[in-house]
């Protein structure tokens, strides 16, 4: 059955882009090693073969120039999908991203449109150290003007990418390297899912309850969704019924999904591969402290990278990125209380 076809996240993303390129001649792709190589993490695999080098363009290593060019091309009527190879490199081009792409629509009073998808690889766990392992979406969610998309499996990845390309606003699309289903990097089984062949969209701002539960709410994104699900499986055997909420987009943010879940479970764990301070875990905890305080039975728990750069050595890196075990233990502690 066609519907039962399973894809990796990388294939789901490249298929989404290909389908939109077929549908809309204004869509084109640019970035470092996106054409001949097919994207270092495979997000653009097969595209240059299908659409040729005018629509799938390898760029020089000059992120400011080509991301800024995407903004300019969008203003002139195109719909670029531009790849920043690792999100960790944002510092060389952040001005074009946040002072221009993100703010131009607002500064124009809504008159100008910038339909750009800025996609980027994120995440650690394979010892790529401090400059190649971060997720950083919290930082981009902090500054207004970018929609922030962070899929955790192939099905979501395709639908969210199609929504991103069709959106008339700048969308930053983060894919976790360890979820892409690459032949050369370990990935959780669950990230490979059935993916419909036809194009479909997933709306932004709608969290997905990846596992319903009644004892404790676990809010997460990307790899941490997968780890939360693994933890939930273990917890289930101990009689603890965890609800796992995959936010899927940080901007717009599905506040209600979090609040409603906490109203049901009365306990909240926020798990993040981003730095702990001043980020996603704080925001989610704050939303609950603002809007569902009386429903909380126990202090909020935050698991995240403990405000240190990502270390290289394996035991160090494994220590700082929240593990299945750490998530499980947090839940056990909360439920015991």
């Amino acid at each position: 059955m066609a519907n039962e076809r399973e894809l990796t996240m990388a294939k789901a993303i490249s298929e989404a882009i290909a389908q939109e390129m077929e549908r809309d001649p204004r869509v084109f792709v640019l970035g470092e090693d996106v054409a001949v190589y097919g994207g270092i993490f495979g997000a653009t695999q097969g595209l240059v073969e299908k659409f040729g080098p005018d629509r799938v363009m390898d760029t020089p290593i000059s992120e400011t120039a080509f991301i800024g060019a995407a903004t300019g091309a969008a203003a002139a009527g195109m719909r670029p999908v531009v790849e920043l190879m690792f999100v960790d490199f944002f510092g060389v081009c952040m001005d074009q991203i946040y002072n221009h792409l993100a703010k131009n629509t607002y500064m124009s009073g809504g008159n100008a449109r910038f339909p750009v998808v800025l996609m980027t690889a994120m995440g650690g766990g394979y010892n790529d150290a401090a400059q190649h392992s971060q997720v950083l979406y919290g930082l981009f969610a902090h500054v207004p003007g970018l929609k922030i998309v962070v899929p955790s499996n192939a099905y979501d990845a395709k639908g969210l990418m199609i929504s991103a390309i069709r959106d008339d606003n700048p969308v930053m699309y983060f894919f976790h390297k360890g979820l892409m289903g690459l032949g050369w990097m370990k990935y959780p089984e669950r990230t490979i899912t059935p993916v419909p062949e036809k194009a479909y969209t997933i709306p932004f701002g709608v969290a997905d309850i990846k596992r319903p539960g009644k004892d404790v709410t676990i809010v997460a994104l990307a790899m941490m969704v997968q780890r939360a699900l693994d933890a939930a499986d273990e917890l289930a055997q101990e009689g603890i019924d965890a609800e796992v909420i995959d936010l899927r987009t940080l901007v717009p943010l599905d506040r209600d999904a979090v609040i409603n879940s906490v109203k049901k479970t009365h306990k909240l764990i926020v798990v993040d591969e981003d730095y702990k301070g001043f980020g996603m875990t704080g925001e989610i905890a704050a939303i609950v402290a603002e809007s569902a305080l009386d429903y909380l039975d126990a202090p909020v728990k935050r698991l995240a990278v403990p405000n240190v750069p990502i270390p290289y050595s394996r035991p160090l890196e494994q220590f700082v990125i929240p593990s299945v075990e750490a998530i499980g233990n947090a839940a056990r502690q909360l439920v015991k209380k």
Binding site: T64, G68, A69, G72, A73, H100, T105, Y106, G110, N169
Partner: protein, 328 residues
Amino acid sequence: MKLSRDQLLSMYRQMWTIRFFEDELAAAYMEGKTPAFDIGSGPVPGEMHLAAGQEPVAVGTCAHLKKQDTVVGTHRPHHFAIAKGVPLDKLAAEIFGKETGLGRGKGGHMHLFDVEHNFSCSGIIGAGFPPACGAALAAKKMGKDWVAVAFAGEGAANQGSFHEALNLAALWQLPVIFIIEDNSWAISVPKGKSTSIPDNSTRAAGYGIPGVRVDENDTLAVYEVLGEAVARARRGEGPSLIEVKTDRYYGHFQGDPELYRPKDEVSQLKANDPIQKLASQIMAQGAATQAELDAARDAAKADVAGAMEFARTSPYPAPEQALENVFV
């Protein structure tokens, strides 16, 4: 390239429109700021960078451009906007923070977006080079002969974005023209203290593209050099880099004490005023009479007065509108 009488008169009028616009703004800016100067007071608060004296680079360039061509300006953007055809009323209203402005009052003087005339600008130095490349890339992809022009100050030519954009444009043979407006100053820093070579157009050699410097603040000289650059871009032969010498009459921003600047510099510059120069050139060509020139000037003055009136009488946006327009 021979300019017709109408073209010359229209350029002359544009020069005056720019000059009056800046002078009127300079006056409006001081309202509510005397006796005690407070940058946040009056009908035109915030930073204000005026381009009086710098008309030639804008007018001489934009005379070659069509509506579909893109211009990306700088933090000192009014002369470019006016020369590109951005409606004066909406321009002024935006600067006054009014609902009727280009950006409904959200952008302000450094952030002007006119989708119809393909004009934009930014308060970030050097930021205009990459989006101009993108507009040029789009034109190429769409099979149009549209070009894009990125203006920037001589101070901006030391930003990394300049190099990246030049390389990209040359590599992809984009129809884009990079114009460095050399007014000798970047706030208080003279060109010799910021730039390792005297002439930015020599940097073109690092990208294998033509580089030309226009060494006087002369509208027709700019027009001449840009003619070739624009034609080249339209023919699909790629980018050019042009540096134009020009003169900043006001301080870097209004309120700048200009302690760094030789006292008589500006008065000396004004002795070679580019509007007078253009008038002499037109007269020397016998292309128009003094009366015609005066009429153009008067028309410009009236246009600016009308725009200022429009801006002043337009309503402010309602406070809650602040929450709109983050996304379309």
